[in-house]
Symmetry: C2
Subunit: 187 residues, 2 copies
DNA sequence: ACCTGAACACCGTTCAAGT
DNA sequence: ACCTGAACACCGTTCAAGT
């Protein structure tokens, strides 16, 4: 056994990653430290190293579990333009919930490179529907993903204090620009 | 007088910001610390606080001087599509030279919000040329800027090791998508 | 197997003291 | 006016020791 001296139960990866993500959500990147996380879990800082190799690995864990759990819209049969907008909105919501995590992810794109992730599967499906040829799927999805990430990160960190109507109009303009871009692409 | 005990001349903001940017370029965000910067300048760490309020102010200084010095293409009379591409390429080059600074900037868009900056002036000019109405300039330029930043940051951090031909094709696709998007916008 | 305390090499920053 | 050293409250991480 050898559970914690202060806690009843032993640590799990599950609660480590959940608590770490919460700390990041609440206090940004600098809100998460190994020592604060340990304090939050009521455990010795060094105990964490038995479950996670180091801080980088911890953040990687947070990102991958959060990315896997993203709630993305299913294929409802609507036109690709609407589905692209719905996907962008789902992205927008997720970044709004975990801005610090997405900032990190934006600077470490390799953590989200796995094409089996639901986010890529969904984007591929929408782009196929739009008529993007198979050979261009990787490239087009990369570009759109970078665009959307750039936009929502800038929006979340930049002008949230603004008039929400303005933010909505900005978001609409971004989506329309992408739709026109993809349409012009396959025409 | 009262210059440094170890150096001949007193510190200047100029050399502080130049050296700090170099440290960031060489070692990423974690390559820049007040103590390393002081060591590099052969000065006591605390001396820096006489020229700069704190580390945040130092990074703000780096970003604003670098942004002011960006070399952007002048109006050469070519079509707006070509000028937009040239602008994106200039951006691309600058981010490639200072990736860590741009990562920071991407997460602190307020540092680049001043519409008098050459980057906004240039973008406004190109968009006017493309026929974007005055009332939509702020919005459209925000969206495009976020897109370009998203793309070049992702590219710089993500798949530079790739085949340079592929990177170039990705960049072309991104520019074409933006051009189609803007064109569809004003049609 | 899992947890712990002490220790090391780093941080940013404050403050009182030097010239 | 500008620089400095000591000190404080933080970091991530290693290591040897506990159960």
């Amino acid at each position: 056994m050898a559970a914690s001296a202060r806690r009843g139960a032993p640590l799990t990866l599950e609660e480590i990653s959940t608590t770490a993500l919460r700390l990041m959500d609440e206090g940004g990147v600098e809100g998460l430290s190994m020592r604060k996380l340990a304090a939050e879990l009521d455990v010795n800082p060094m105990s964490l190293y038995h479950h996670v190799e180091n801080k980088d690995a911890l953040i990687r864990l947070i990102c991958s579990t959060a990315a896997q759990r993203m709630q993305l819209p299913p294929d409802d049969g609507s036109p690709w333009q609407e589905q692209l907008r719905a996907l962008a909105m789902a992205y927008h919501r997720h970044v709004g919930q975990h801005p610090a995590m997405w900032s990190y992810l934006h600077n470490h794109p390799e953590l989200i490179a796995d094409r089996e992730l639901i986010i890529w599967q969904t984007l591929y499906r929408v782009l196929r529907l739009a008529g993007v040829p198979e050979s261009e799927l990787r490239r087009t999805s990369d570009v759109l993903h970078a665009f959307v990430t750039g936009f929502v990160v800038a929006e979340t960190h930049g002008h949230l204090p603004d008039d929400p109507e303005e933010v909505k109009a900005d978001f609409d303009a971004a989506v329309r620009l992408m739709i026109h871009g993809v349409a012009g692409f396959t025409r």
